[in-house]
């Protein structure tokens, strides 16, 4: 146990920074491809992000046996777990890495052979496939002592985590957030608070220590600050030209998803914010050339094809300046009140985008289009994510009719390239760009 703890600390504090420094050195001395890219050089902060995430995942390799480990859904009110000293693992984040590396088909095959349908969310197939095959872009994930699942993003996670609980034989903490039609009801909010208290009791048993409520307030404060800093980073793209592309945000999002509620996360976003603001001052845009049209992206990224999509559009002066997906984490814990960490978490986490009705989503898209001065929107119709995708056909029409934004539906899947038809997508995006004249 002590040795394991030493390894865990060393991995985070010593080894990861060295690896990051080596990677940085290699990057600086790597010959750049002659291929013309429509994008400005990557942000310097990217190295800090890589160091942070490398440290997190490297520590994770030694976490089991050293500290309690929780596998957590992206929208889970993580603050109490953090305060209890859990090392948190986000299978969605891990599945996104599998998607970027295009290894999902192989992982999916492994679980399809066991009866899992290809029609299930590709994050689930990637994650369960990784457990079945032992293949992972990060070497290995630590074994969980606890599973923490919040249904504010979908019901899929409930089935996914139930499966994980069976595999690992560990407790599952469920926070069921009733869907919000219009405004949340008092009894729904109370239900979420009650579940948080029930979840805390389970997590305390697993962590073998009581929750320090004062420390929880501090974690809540950090969490809120992290979300707000992330929101400020995103808001820099309201400038013309936007200092980065919204799609950069997909990658820089990693910290607020996986390390929300830590000072390390917030320190990273301060660095990023400084750099973005510096770019704004200097008039440096995310695109090398002129930013002719500004777009909103809706839904998860097509992780394995983001470069393909953004390059095609970027080459013609189309830049994604905001996305509903990255914005979700700016809202995730921004409403948390450190003086009422559970009550405010219940209200805030239950009202994230995916747990609210379609008029709310339309309002959000409209507001984003106005605030970021976007004149177009690409709505990724994600075969894997029904809660995010149902309603997009109407949203597309209403964006045009009510907000005056040209919109297109792009059929894909966030993780499984077998559902991606590159040529069809290029034709559709080509026609979309032509419609701007």
């Amino acid at each position: 146990m002590i040795l394991r703890r030493v390894q865990y600390e060393l991995a985070g504090r010593a080894v990861a920074p060295v690896l990051a420094a080596i990677e940085d050195w290699q990057r600086r001395h790597r010959k750049r491809s002659a291929r013309e890219s429509p994008f400005a050089p990557p942000l310097e902060s990217l190295q800090d992000l890589k160091a942070l995430m490398t440290s997190h995942y490297l520590q994770g390799r030694y976490a089991d046996g050293a500290v309690p480990v929780a596998w957590v859904t992206s929208g889970f009110p993580v603050e109490f777990l953090r305060t209890l000293g859990f090392h948190t693992v986000y299978p969605e984040n891990h599945a996104a890495m599998c998607s970027v590396q295009r290894i999902v088909p192989g992982l999916s095959d492994a679980v399809e052979a066991r009866g899992y349908s290809r029609d299930l969310c590709s994050y689930v197939r990637a994650d369960l496939g990784s457990i079945e095959t032992g293949r992972s872009p990060v070497g290995r994930l630590p074994r969980p002592d606890l599973l923490a699942c919040c249904t504010n993003i979908c019901q899929t996670v409930l089935y996914w985590y139930r499966d994980l609980a069976r595999r690992f034989g560990v407790p599952l903490v469920l926070v069921d957030t009733p869907f919000v039609y219009g405004e949340p009801t008092a009894h729904a909010t109370r239900y979420v608070v009650d579940q948080l208290e029930e979840g805390i009791a389970v997590a305390e048993r697993v962590a073998r220590r009581p929750l320090d409520r004062e420390a929880l307030s501090e974690t809540a404060r950090l969490s809120r600050e992290g979300s707000q800093l992330w929101g400020e980073c995103l808001a820099t793209a309201r400038n013309r030209p936007a200092p980065w592309t919204g799609v950069d945000g997909f990658f820089h999002l990693g910290a607020v998803v996986a390390l929300r509620g830590t000072e390390a996360c917030n320190a990273y976003y301060r660095t990023l914010l400084d750099e973005l603001r510096d770019r704004v001052r200097k008039g440096i845009g995310g695109l090398r050339g002129e930013e002719r049209h500004r777009l909103v992206w809706d839904n998860l990224p097509v992780w394995f094809a983001t470069r393909e999509i953004t390059t095609l559009l970027g080459a013609h002066g189309f830049n994604f300046v905001c996305t509903t997906y990255t914005n979700a984490w700016a809202e995730a814990s921004s409403g948390i009140d450190p003086s009422d960490p559970l009550g405010s978490a219940a209200t805030t986490y239950a009202q994230i985008l995916l747990n609210r009705d379609l008029p709310n989503k339309l309002r959000l898209l409209g507001r984003m289009a106005r605030e970021f001065e976007a004149d177009g929107a690409v709505l990724h119709s994600d075969r894997s994510c029904k809660p995010y995708s149902i309603g997009q056909v109407d949203l597309k029409d209403r964006l045009s009719a009510e907000v005056g934004v040209k919109a297109v539906l792009l059929e894909a899947d966030h993780g499984d390239p077998r559902a991606w038809a590159s040529e069809v997508a290029q034709n559709r995006l080509g026609a979309f760009m032509e419609s701007f004249g």
Partner: protein, 366 residues
């Protein structure tokens, strides 16, 4: 009589308003107590009506796409409101899509039942949610809910459950073909409970009068027995449904072990908890597997048919566990996916026939 004339007659003769109800679980006692006729909407099967279904992507289940088409083309105009139980992500989204963006202009009432309903927090929420739904239904009915009437409705639905359970359990000696039995049970999706109970009792009087079919008994689990022609194919191929775990049928037959709670609201929740495990409510997959294994044993079924709707995540997530459960018992399993077609595809027909033949060949009829 079919649904629409029946709804009209209920209105004319009893002054009853009607509420369309999306699948699966809902507190029907509340509607009965308020004199509201529940008319369930499982699709309906066939191609979607009109082109409104195109507002939902084709990778979403046909139950939801067809329901959108049906509602948006006026198919449910005979009713006064629609109730959307929080069954899955797709129905949840349908509720906001059709109510907020067009297709349904009458009241749309969500019913948010909790996941893992046995937890203390979930029970408290469920009680409060019942009251919230009741007050929305009161507005439709134009009357307030009387607790004595609610207690009577609880008692009535327990009788309906008991009669349905008796028919399903005594199936072997009930001289009805599967198609006939399912037609009878599924009329409960829209008949007034007393009318349904009368029909059930007539059928129950015939229990014990038939001989166990000289066919292979099978357990069927899945979503909804559509197309109904599948049952005829099954019977024609020499098999019969000896045990049922369809979400639309057996999974909604509560089997309480004691008398109802004196508080009728509590009794409504009890009835829900006394229903067989369903993935859309419970997180306890093992409980469902135990239930299926016991259904198999009690019925003497020789094979299992898993019949799910394509893209239905709640059901699809249980398929690996169902496979494991029956593989471990060396029980043959047929997996069928359908899209609420009106007709069984030739391929599905062949697979059912081959499955039944295989079962008959391996020790066969009971």
């Amino acid at each position: 009589m079919t649904r629409e004339p029946y709804i009209r007659r209920q209105r004319e003769e009893h002054g009853r308003k009607a509420v369309a109800v999306l699948p699966i679980h809902y507190p029907k006692e509340l509607l009965t107590a308020l004199d509201l006729l529940a008319v369930e909407l499982w699709g309906p099967p066939g191609s979607p009506r009109g082109d409104a279904a195109g507002r939902i992507q084709p990778y979403v289940c046909s139950v939801v796409r067809n329901a959108l088409g049906f509602l948006a083309t006026g198919g449910a105009d005979a009713v006064d409101a629609a109730l959307f139980p929080h069954t899955c992500d797709s129905i949840q989204q349908l509720a906001t899509l059709v109510a907020d963006f067009g297709g349904w202009s009458k009241p749309a009432i969500p019913y948010l039942h909790p996941r893992d309903p046995g937890r203390a927090s979930a029970r408290r929420f469920a009680r409060a949610e019942l009251r919230a739904v009741a007050s929305r239904l009161e507005a439709i009915a134009g009357r307030s809910l009387d607790e004595d009437r609610l207690a009577s409705a609880v008692a009535l639905h327990r009788e309906v459950d008991a009669a349905r359970a008796a028919l399903l359990d005594g199936r072997a000696t009930l001289p009805l073909a599967d198609v006939e039995l399912y037609a009878l049970l599924r009329r409960g999706e829209w008949l007034w409970p007393e009318d349904h109970l009368a029909e059930l009792r007539l059928a129950a009087a015939r229990l014990g009068t038939g001989k166990p079919p000289a066919r292979v008994p099978v357990l069927v689990t899945g979503y909804v027995p559509e197309p109904a022609g599948m049952l005829a194919v099954l019977n024609g191929a020499g098999a019969w449904v000896a045990a049922d775990d369809y979400a639309a049928v057996g999974r909604r037959v509560a089997r309480p072990t004691g008398p109802p709670a004196s508080d009728p609201w509590e009794a409504v929740l009890e009835r829900q908890l006394a229903s067989p495990p369903c993935p859309t409510r419970s997180v306890d997959q093992d409980a469902r597997m135990r239930h299926l294994a016991s259904l198999l044993e009690r019925s003497g079924s020789r094979g299992v048919i898993v019949h799910v709707v394509k893209f239905c995540e709640p059901e699809l997530f249980d398929v690996p566990a169902i496979r494991r459960t029956f593989e471990a018992r060396e029980v043959p399993l047929l997996y069928l996916e359908s899209e609420l077609e009106r007709q069984l595809s030739g391929q599905a027909e062949t697979r059912i026939e081959a499955f039944a033949e295989m079962l008959a060949g391996s020790g066969g009829a009971a």
